[in-house]
Symmetry: C2
Subunit: 243 residues, 2 copies
């Protein structure tokens, strides 16, 4: 059977990968991915064939992986975090039928909403919404609507792609929308370079976050009305202590 | 340093655990957890001390883990999925200051929103909301408000704790709320026994989901307006094909 694994590597470091992800890469002949993720694993699996493609060439990358699998190779297409969260797994499912005989298996990984939460404290705990601020594939009006809805219903909010060169003020705009419903004192957090060199966290208020610049290696968390700072960590209590 | 790891084991099977989780358990003297999760790992780490506590005794379990760590042992408190998603990490952060000298590290795991998505296809891909239907620690009115907000803003919705003996009709009520904004033909999915024996998936419409009974081993996904069925799998396209 011609096999394609779509593998989420988890946060930056090698040990954030699941054992199943490790086994899928070991079982593969060829590893396909964006250059940065390939470099994360190459040293650990030196005897594999590697095929890297540039950023933003998602369709080419998926087709390359599918073509290699259709030609009889066992292929692992790797990405950081989880392939199902703003990743490659949807596109692969869409194109799969053009490559008969290829069996697809998605191996989930720890996405930044989970790994970022773990280094900040326990910001999720309760119901939460994950929203990408990138308007490359989603109209800004839809992102705006989701930010307002999540804030009004008191979700904890996790923001992916909070910034880029072209979207410097998007985080500020997102905070202004959330501030229509949330207190300026709402506890927020930034997790940067999760699981990689230079890993750092910052806990701040929503008012402060509005005027903070973050980079594309950051994941942003906006607490709900119950989120607190405990010993410098961002924690949303779930209510066990008050049973 | 007295150390407590709060470890998410990922989906049911041993290989869904990250290598970091594996290392944390290996480094620990005592493993604390709910009986079912202890049984998942005992055979793999036979020479550890195990302390299990019953379900619903969350405060006791966290205090036991903190006491053992304060006494000088290295402790791993384990749970399924991720400890930061409706898990034990918030409570541990809250109680930590009562046990001076204990260092806490949360090791994230693959939560059911990610592992369930992977076996169903690629239902998330876009912005999504995670909502628990358990009203044990959250008033139903708040859950209702969040369901309505998520549906109105066209989030993909993932439901944790969709059913229990006492809450047999909650999934039906949730679907009725979502139906105020979403089409009855909205694509939905059920992932059951993820990563364990008896793993199964079902793809169905929102109308059908409303009249379906699920058990407590199930995670439910409600697609957004763009979610499709492709080769029997639940897929929310992200738009790459239309660039």
């Amino acid at each position: 059977m011609n096999k394609l694994y779509v593998v989420g590597l988890g946060p930056g470091s090698f040990d954030g990968m699941t054992q199943k992800a490790h086994a899928a890469i070991l079982a593969s002949d060829v590893i396909v991915g964006y250059t940065v993720y390939i470099d994360l694993i190459r040293a650990h699996f030196p005897d594999k064939e590697y095929r890297s493609t540039p950023m933003r060439k998602e369709v080419d990358r998926v087709r390359l992986a599918l073509e290699l699998a259709a030609s009889g190779k066992t292929v692992a297409m790797v990405c950081s975090g989880d392939a199902g969260v703003y990743g490659m797994s949807g596109l692969t499912e869409e194109l799969l039928s053009e490559y008969p005989g290829v069996a697809l298996e998605t191996v989930p990984g720890v996405s930044a909403v989970l790994s970022g939460a773990a280094i900040l404290g326990a910001p999720l705990m309760h119901d939460f919404a994950v929203i990408s601020l990138s308007d490359l594939l989603t109209p800004w009006e839809k992102i705006e609507k989701r930010l307002l809805a999540a804030a009004e219903a008191d979700f904890v909010i996790c923001l992916y792609n909070p910034s880029s060169h072209k979207r410097r003020d998007y985080l500020k705009r997102a905070c202004e929308l959330v501030l229509r419903f949330a207190s300026p004192k709402t506890v927020c957090g930034i997790a940067r370079n999760i699981g990689r060199e230079g890993e750092e966290t910052r806990v701040l208020t929503l008012e402060e976050l509005k005027d903070t610049e973050v980079d594309m290696f950051s994941t942003v968390f906006i607490g709900n009305s119950e989120t607190k700072v405990i010993n410098g960590r961002m924690v949303t209590p779930r209510g066990y202590l008050y049973e």
